[in-house]
């Protein structure tokens, strides 16, 4: 009885802040303004502008995820091969930006990348050609990679750090070279971390609207921006909810995939 009582606050929390909002999203998503059932809001995704925003979102998220993976995996390998006291410091360096507000970090990039911003100031001082990527998809990818990289680094580092040194020594002992060990031992054993990292980068990147608003200007619409505008500007909660449900399907597919590949939850962040 006592133990059940302890779970009450969490139960309340999940009902009030997870289940009810989710239910409302589904309610709005499947009804029209008169309250009648409709699939229109869901099918609205097939409209050209929505499709374009969705595909762009998927494309940019995928590119960002791949870049994050390409940066994080070698880093994880380097960190795990280092002495313990040193890698703690480097891990902190990577987590440090996370202590700053997400909005502020992204705003900072806006200032840095602006046509007359800090980076271009330095470039023109050095008589180098200026960098004009603000308000382009490149800037959005940069923002995504910068903001979400720690979410890739941590699970990968964790899964790599969990590999017993003796397992690698055993592979060496059996005659395997470094590349062979990476391919046949380290990569498969850290796979849960990779899957977890991909999920943790891909899902927020797919749904972000802040990064695209701040770094992509108003011209580049991601699916997150479309949904946000439906709620805030068009006040069309029905369409916004419908599109959210479609987006949720992509996220669920991703989650299911990661659950299949990471059965034991080994790649968890903590």
């Amino acid at each position: 009885m006592n133990k059940k009582m302890l779970s009450l606050p969490y139960l309340f929390w999940s009902i009030a802040f997870i289940l009810i909002p989710l239910g409302m999203i589904f309610f709005y998503g499947f009804t029209d303004k008169t309250g009648a059932f409709t699939l229109e809001n869901i099918l609205a995704i097939s409209q050209a502008e929505h499709m374009k925003a969705l595909w762009l979102s998927i494309l940019l998220s995928l590119i960002s995820t791949i870049i994050c993976l390409a940066l994080a995996y070698p880093l994880g390998l380097i960190l795990t091969s280092m002495e313990v006291n040193q890698n703690g410091f480097i891990i902190v360096l990577f987590i440090l930006p996370m202590w700053m507000n997400f909005l502020l970090r992204t705003l900072a990039w806006q200032t840095l990348l602006e046509k007359t911003g800090v980076i271009n100031g330095i470039l023109s001082f050095l008589h180098l050609p200026s960098l004009n990527i603000i308000n382009t998809p490149y800037a959005i990818v940069l923002g995504m990679v910068y903001n979400f990289l720690p979410f890739m680094v941590l699970p990968i580092y964790n899964s790599l750090a969990k590999i017993d040194r003796n397992v690698i020594n055993a592979a060496k002992d059996l005659g395997a070279g470094n590349l062979y060990i990476l391919k046949r031992i380290i990569l498969p054993l850290s796979f849960p971390g990779i899957v977890s990292g991909i999920t943790m980068v891909f899902v927020p990147a797919l749904t972000t609207f802040v990064i695209s608003t701040l770094l992509g200007g108003s011209k580049i619409l991601l699916i997150g921006n479309v949904i946000e505008q439906e709620f805030t500007q068009a006040s069309n909660w029905y369409l916004g909810s419908g599109l959210s449900i479609v987006l949720m399907v992509f996220i669920i597919i991703n989650m299911v995939l990661s659950a299949i590949f990471d059965k034991d939850g080994e790649g968890g962040l903590l």
Binding site: D173, L174, A176, R184
Partner: protein, 357 residues
Amino acid sequence: MNKELINLNHISKSFDGQMVLDALCLSIHENEFLTLLGPSGCGKTTTLRIIGGFETPDKGQVIFDNQDITTLPPNKRQLNTVFQKYALFTHMSIAENIAFGLRVKNKSNAYIQDKIKYALKLVNLDGYENRKPDSLSGGQQQRIAIARAIVNEPKVLLLDEPLGALDLKLRQDMQYELIRLKNELGITFIYVTHDQEEALTMSDTIVVMNQGYIQQIGTPETIYNEPENAFVADFIGDSNIISSIMVRDKLVEILGVKFDCVDTGFGEGRPVDVVIRPEDVELVKPEESGLNGIVTDIIFKGVHYEMCVMANGFEWIVHSTKMSPVNSTVGIKVDPFNIQIMNKPESEDEEAVKTDE
């Protein structure tokens, strides 16, 4: 003795300024079961890792089959290691684990399949090909680790406390299994352990180490019956180590009482250490011995009674199948052949282990 296979030549190694091995010299022969025995921190595992190639010595050479392999990486050495915690590849099946070394060497599929069958049979685990390591018990995992090593037909198998994580019964079974494997395969085993019983059971040669130095090298019988110093005597089994005086050849004065012994060449009137194994102490009627004591404690150990006898200020440990009750007065008698005389320790590492450890 067979041909010399490995020669460690004045190996020194220190970690963070801490000397672990100091000018260690050791030769290991073909088809020998050699055990490095010592307390934790004595340098036995470091020695094994240097032979395996996982550590490079600061000084000295490792000679293998007349070739200097001191700086050769592990994957280029003709020897295989069985690790303490098995270190199996958990993401692979048992068959894939065993095949790993052969795949690296690009052996044909038919050859690999043959070898997997042969190795599993050898370690009594036929039919386990498709299991995952996690589904096996500790003893089975260890046998797979051994199978994974021996399919590569190494000249030497290095074993780093491979039975440390197993329970007593299983450990004893595995000891016999290892002896059988060694005899069947005819390869050299270098075995690291801190368990003296394990060392005595399996080894052809025991190397007793302490604080980075070799204390004694010898057969299990020599190490047990003729320890060279107090450390060896104390580390291998229980023993009574008594500070005594060598009166002359074949006569030693123990706790003020003269005993006949068989050792010679220690000089006259020189202080020595005497080792008497508990099972070699005979308890007799007081009038039959010049050294009498009082039984202070008695513990039943199954095969024998372990008794403590206080005699002339020294507490003797006595193992006997006959019980003498507590507080009874007994006489102590020792066969001259069972009195082992040793020189006094010259350095700290030769001293007996403190009992509070």
